[in-house]
């Protein structure tokens, strides 16, 4: 029988279990407290809103990554896709009206994701290989279309987007709101929708899913297409924030996204993971970067700390399983 939180906290041994079970949130809270103690700049609205703006792009692709990982796959192409799609969006903003530019970018993202989806689902290619190939292709195309240099927004539409991306509602940056909205949508889908249920089932036992009459290939395909679409939204967000689309955007973002999903307790074997925990994973990674920046730690030691935190988080999850 499920215990209430109160019961779970009723003895010291249980507190430990509770902490281990909800380790992602626990690490997050710990980091927030630590950051607040160590730096008086941390809890300023400027810093917090900066932090949120910084993580939103990676956050959005992390949700796509989560959905792919839930099926037991992986999508290495998302970082390069952000670059290609940001360039695409910048070109479109300068040529067509804004709503059309947004819609076209998302459709192109869906299309690129579909290529990976098609290769994985219908050609039975290993996800790692298919998306690795797509990753190089997308990065290359980004450079070709931009001729190697950033493309700045030049139209009123571009100005509108840039304003939107740099403003806030009630102190929360607009682009963070876009990210949160996507998290909530994913949460609802994974919990209350057939689509979510089926991809979790597929990830935990593909053969049993097939024999239960689930259209395994169709859902596999869709998952990559969705990841591509989310990469498009992330691209629009980051391009708008900087007022330009550059082929250098999204470098190694796929790795941060994977890290966020894993810190959030998802299993790379599929079938296990939630949107809220992935959100925590994204925030944890962002927080580490943020606090190390505030402490003026140079970027190489930062990478070492990041790696250590990932290992720590995953080790904690092993206790949970016991």
């Amino acid at each position: 029988m499920a215990l209430t939180i109160k019961e779970q906290l009723s003895s010291p041994g249980n507190i430990l279990k509770f902490v281990i079970k909800h380790n992602t949130i626990f690490i997050f809270v710990l980091l927030v407290i630590f950051s607040a103690l160590i730096s008086d700049v941390f809890f300023t609205s400027v810093n917090l809103s900066n932090l949120l703006k910084q993580v939103s792009g990676i956050g959005i692709i992390s949700i796509g990554m989560l959905i792919v990982i839930l099926t037991g796959g992986i999508d290495l192409s998302v970082g390069s896709m952000v670059a290609l799609l940001a360039v695409t969006f910048a070109i479109l903003v300068n040529t067509v009206i804004l709503p059309l530019a947004i819609i076209l970018t998302i459709i192109i993202g869906f299309g690129l994701g579909s290529v990976a989806g098609y290769l994985v689902a219908y050609q039975k290619m290993a996800p790692f290989i298919a998306t690795l190939a797509l990753m190089t292709v997308a990065r290359g195309l980004g450079f070709i279309y931009s001729k190697g240099s950033p493309i700045t927004f030049k139209t009123p539409g571009g100005e509108f987007m840039s304003n939107f991306a740099n403003n806030s509602i009630l102190g929360v940056p607009n682009i963070a709101l876009v990210f949160f909205l996507i998290v909530i949508l994913a949460m609802v889908m994974l919990r209350y929708n057939v689509f979510g249920r089926l991809i979790i089932a597929m990830g935990s036992n593909e053969e049993a899913s097939r024999l239960s009459g689930i259209k395994v290939s169709k859902y596999k395909f869709l998952v990559y297409a969705i990841s591509g679409s989310l990469a498009a939204i992330a691209a629009i967000v980051v391009a708008s924030r900087t007022n330009l689309g550059s082929p250098n955007m999204g470098m190694a973002w796929e790795l941060d996204a994977i890290a966020a999903v894993v810190i959030g307790g998802a299993s790379l074997n599929g079938g296990k993971g939630t949107a809220i925990n992935t959100l925590m994973g994204v925030l944890i990674l962002g927080l580490i970067g943020n606090i190390l920046n505030l402490l003026n730690v140079p970027s190489y030691p930062q990478q070492v700390v990041k790696g250590a935190i990932i290992i720590f988080a995953v080790l904690l999850q092993r206790f949970e399983r016991k």
Partner: protein, 512 residues
Amino acid sequence: MKNSESEYRVEMTGISKSFGVVSVLENVNLKVKHGEIHALLGENGAGKSTLVKILSGVHQKDGGQVLLNGKEITPKNTHDGQVLGISVVYQELSLVNDLSVAENIYLHKLGASKFWMNWKKITKDAQELIDSLGFEIDASSRVRDLSIVQKQVVEIAKALSEDTKVLVLDEPTTVFDPTDTQKLFDNLFKLKEKGISIIYISHHLEEIFKIADSVTVLRDGVDTGSMAVSDTDTDGVIRLMIGRELKDLYPVRDAEIGEEPIFEVKNLNGRRNLVHDVSFDVKPGEVLGIAGLGGSGRTETAKLIFGADKKKSGTLILNGKEIKCNSPVDAVGHEIGFVSEDRKEEGVFLPLSIRKNISVTSLKSISNKLGFLNVDKEFENVLGLIDKLNIKAPSSEVNVKNLSGGNQQKVALAKWLSIDSKVIFIDEPTRGVDVGAKVEIYNLINEVAKKGVGVVVISSDMPEIMGIADRILVMHEGTFYGELAKSEFSEENILRYSIGKPLKQTVLKKNI
């Protein structure tokens, strides 16, 4: 301890174990003599597997004492157990699919040996070992390509080693047909003669009376008795297992069988020719049994029909209309169900809850047009089925991984019983299920048939198939060799057809 040699090889006393707040074993005793076959019986979830896993080091006991040859042991992991001479064939298969048979058999010994492996020798040794067991498997073939029966044989071969003193077999014969089982028994007798002590877990009570010397019974984590097999009988053992008498194992078949077949198969052929020229029909309300030896093509037939494997040719007719079934999606669309024999790989979702397992086939009916689930309805359905099938679990949210084998089987069945079907294929319906639960499943099959469903049951358990089927088709080398009407049911007749011989008396091979 008496003298240097104690009377018992294994003495487990006062063992207790709990997982979290759930207590699984309480003060359990198990004493096994040298060179005896000791049966361990009990319902699904009684704690049999947990007890032997404590012996072998998979789990650690919370209390009690384990003696081996009179000396206390506390194995911390399976390696410790192996070193002490405790070998186990676990209930769940644990082979590495991508390695060869020989590599699997010697896998656990690899770490201890020299740096370089002589693969040729290992393959040769493995082949000798398998041959000596009397089974036909190529030691160099990949485990992935083996049938489930062959995998089980490899599992047994893997457990045997020169220093085995205690051999534990946790439901080794669930996938075996009678001839395989007999081969295993012959081997066990040989081992027993060498002085090896064998702990034997099974839900097939008749096996116990064939091979065991003594028996210990568990009920809900408590041992309810230990005695020599000669001092008890089936009823006595069942009483200790479930705490009451069990009247009838098989339900009275009272479903009304329709005139016209609900489902017909004509000239079905598989791509790989494991199955050829299969034709049969099943009528609404009928329970059609399919018998045959392991590897005769029974499972493959069901998989071909269901669209899980590719057909070469063949016609399927549902309610008089020809249908196409090229994938399980098609099959489910036509309301054809299939319960797989391999529950771990193909039946259940181990890391998911009972609720998510059961409702995976019925998501359409419990969601709206946009795919949003009606969770209340889902709980209602699932809890109803848990109750009906008497699935033993603390709640519907428990992961199937943490259920005992028999209860996992019930979940696999529940998945298909939660939706309407016209025809349902059930491959080994009671594999690993205890006697009490068997009766529940048989009643359920009967009830499904009563609704006018055509039920096709594949089973290697001969008493079972004779008990529940209205008619039996016997498969031999990929096609149906003969048909038995209820009046002709007998183990002998089934076996004769299984090995491709006509019946003894006047009944000749029927054309079907």
